[in-house]
Symmetry: C3
């Protein structure tokens, strides 16, 4: 055995030892796909192990990822793949009126109900329930119905409505008029964003080609759920831990004194864990899925 071979074996041995998971009956030694990936190699600048990396392997989380308006489960493709590579369990249900569902005649309650049924039918427990954008208001309502199944709520540049508010109440004045005007022009009151608007405020960091690719994945958004006033009294009685992820260049809701993702809507969560990075509303999910997956794990872990 050469020195190198010896070292490789010792490294592998130490590896097993170091990655034994005290909280699991099956330690990581039984999960060979965890080896040979990039998560093992990071160390901090002063040479210490960044416990984040161990963490990724020692704590399997169950994520339920709720997409936003104009989106569908394919929005999560890259991110879900990265989360699964880390060993996590990931669900990405499709909301009624979105994606392949052509019926735009849906209410916010129907959307909430579909997620509740998804969770209860599959008997999911201890979940990290993540809402992006419009999905924030959905996880607020889902949490009211199945609080005992939820370990933590994660809002990613997401709507957090006060009791009695609608999504549209949180649009800035010019956006409210513009978006609701589009709904009135459409026979089924669904909203198709013009590319010129989408490109500027949803995918501001993308090049034109990527912007068009992302735009081509969107479908018209049912307008009723955006304008319904939601009863959220029960939500504000919940004590489920909650996190807020803010991407600093997300201007789908622009920053302003009386509106905006952060701190305006985030502050409604009371005590919450704050996670932040660079990115915009829809480009970063596509081009930097691993980066977003890390933020989601940082938001969702114990």
């Amino acid at each position: 055995m050469t020195t190198k071979e010896h070292n490789d074996v010792m490294y592998q041995y130490n590896y097993y030892f170091r990655h034994m998971n005290p909280n699991q009956s099956t330690p990581y030694s039984y999960q060979p796909y965890h080896f040979n990936n990039e998560y093992y190699t990071n160390t901090t600048q002063n040479g210490l192990i960044d416990h984040n990396d161990l963490y990724f392997r020692q704590h399997i989380l169950t994520f339920v990822l709720i997409h936003g308006s104009w989106a569908d489960p394919t929005f999560w493709n890259g991110i879900a793949g990265e989360l699964r590579k880390m060993g996590h369990i990931v669900h990405t249900p499709q909301l009624p009126g979105h994606g392949t569902d052509k019926n735009k005649n849906v209410t916010h309650a129907m959307i909430t109900q579909s997620v509740v049924e998804y969770i209860t039918t599959q008997n999911l427990k201890n979940i990290i329930l993540v809402g992006h954008s419009f999905g924030g208001s959905v996880i607020q309502k889902v949490a009211e119905q199945v609080p005992d199944r939820i370990k933590r709520l994660v809002f990613w540049n997401a709507f957090i409505l006060k009791d009695g508010e609608s999504m549209a109440d949180q649009f800035p004045p010019q956006g409210q008029q513009f978006i609701l005007g589009l709904a009135q022009q459409s026979p089924d009151h669904s909203i198709k964003l013009p590319f010129s608007y989408f490109r500027e405020v949803f995918v501001n960091l993308a090049d034109l080609q990527t912007a068009q690719q992302i735009y081509n994945t969107t479908t018209p958004e049912p307008s009723a759920p955006l304008t319904e006033k939601l009863d959220l009294k029960a939500f504000y009685q919940l004590t489920i831990p909650r996190s807020f992820i803010n991407l600093l260049e997300d201007t789908a809701i622009p920053a302003g004194e009386t509106y905006g993702w952060y701190p305006h809507m985030a502050s409604r969560l009371g005590i919450f864990r704050f996670i932040q990075g660079h990115g915009d509303h829809m480009t970063t999910a596509k081009l930097q899925p691993r980066k977003v997956a890390h933020l989601i794990v940082n938001a969702g872990r114990d």
Copy 2:
């Protein structure tokens, strides 16, 4: 031919093919200086090509860069060089009362007029008009006069005045008093910033030596254009696309509840594309010109 040689040739062949520029009669294969530079090598973390890089080569933009107060066209040297390396056309006109122009007896209208004449004399069209700092108010007024020549307005930590406002109206209270006080002490009412002030708020990220080097490039600023109330009714009727670039450590105008670059002044643009990075008011242009050039391209591209 070995496998490696074969792969190299195929790579090169594909390279030419991929980088053909549909908008030019001479595709990139005729521009050998484009090869062997760093813009070809970036890929995203998931192995896909970052279309940004192709974009840099496929879409030649014409930039007109308008410097701010205390500055002159040399402010753009590094950035303009990087933009030209990417293949773009770059103009950096000198504003009256600045740089080599010793006559400080200028008005905001004279400054605007000089830029309008620069653009019309050279018959520039389809331009990306970029204003830094004070230059923001200049491109607001230029846009009123030659809207059809402008493809997009880019405000980089720049003044965006409401109709009837002056620059000084957007200084925070303590700054207003301080800066206008300096004007009164000077025979020609020009303003020479003391180094101690400049160093803290214009080049906060610089080391002392760099701070001094940048300070030595400044010239006294004519005060009249800072205090003139501008008629901007026509500007607020324009529909030219617009972007805002925010450097997060820029405190030339500090952040506050009723003043500041972003979101306070930026929000006046209505729907705009938001681009952001780390940097201060004048150091980043000098020490990280390529980074700023990328932000400007991201702000200016289609």
Copy 3:
């Protein structure tokens, strides 16, 4: 001598020459531990030397680092080590009622007095006085007493109180009630934060294991200094230069319209140097001490 050996010698020679310190009787050639470290290798993207690095060696600074609530001098261990590697002199006094001092019956004035005595007993001059968190209010009061010994004040996500305010006045409403409630439950009115709260808002970026390690270093915080109204009239007459360091994910005091580290409290400094980076309230000091040390040098240097 081979070419390489020749180059190495010439490099070393130039090295000595370039790093002679004009302000010291013993130039760097006498400090061999300065060689072979990472500070020599950085260059900016355009190939120029980043003067920051030379600066780190040419200007020895004397830092007095004042820790915050629930912390003690060990909070600074990593950061102080990095600053010393750069050649700086670092003091990290322990505040009364903190760390190994079990007597929680202390006042804000006693804490201030201990720092003043530390500085005067050791006859420290020309110091960069850094306050983190609660330490901000301490350096405000220390500066009133020994202004001539202080070269610059550096507030790092630190309390900057107005005349007549207490720390508690700057807590957001829900935090105020929660934290002061904890004080009432404790026999000596000290405050032990529950881990669940600490983990979410003080070490939001940490993994669970690191969060627990940091939590285990904390001791109960005396509550009297948090609720005393401070007379700060003299502070607001001082003209000592000042800097503010903001870590963007620090939510120990969450961002809000009427509270928060930046810009709310920072803006009380008037003209100040703004330094910013990514990080939270207590994790970054431990896992990325070199990064924080750089921010502190950037805030403290001339």
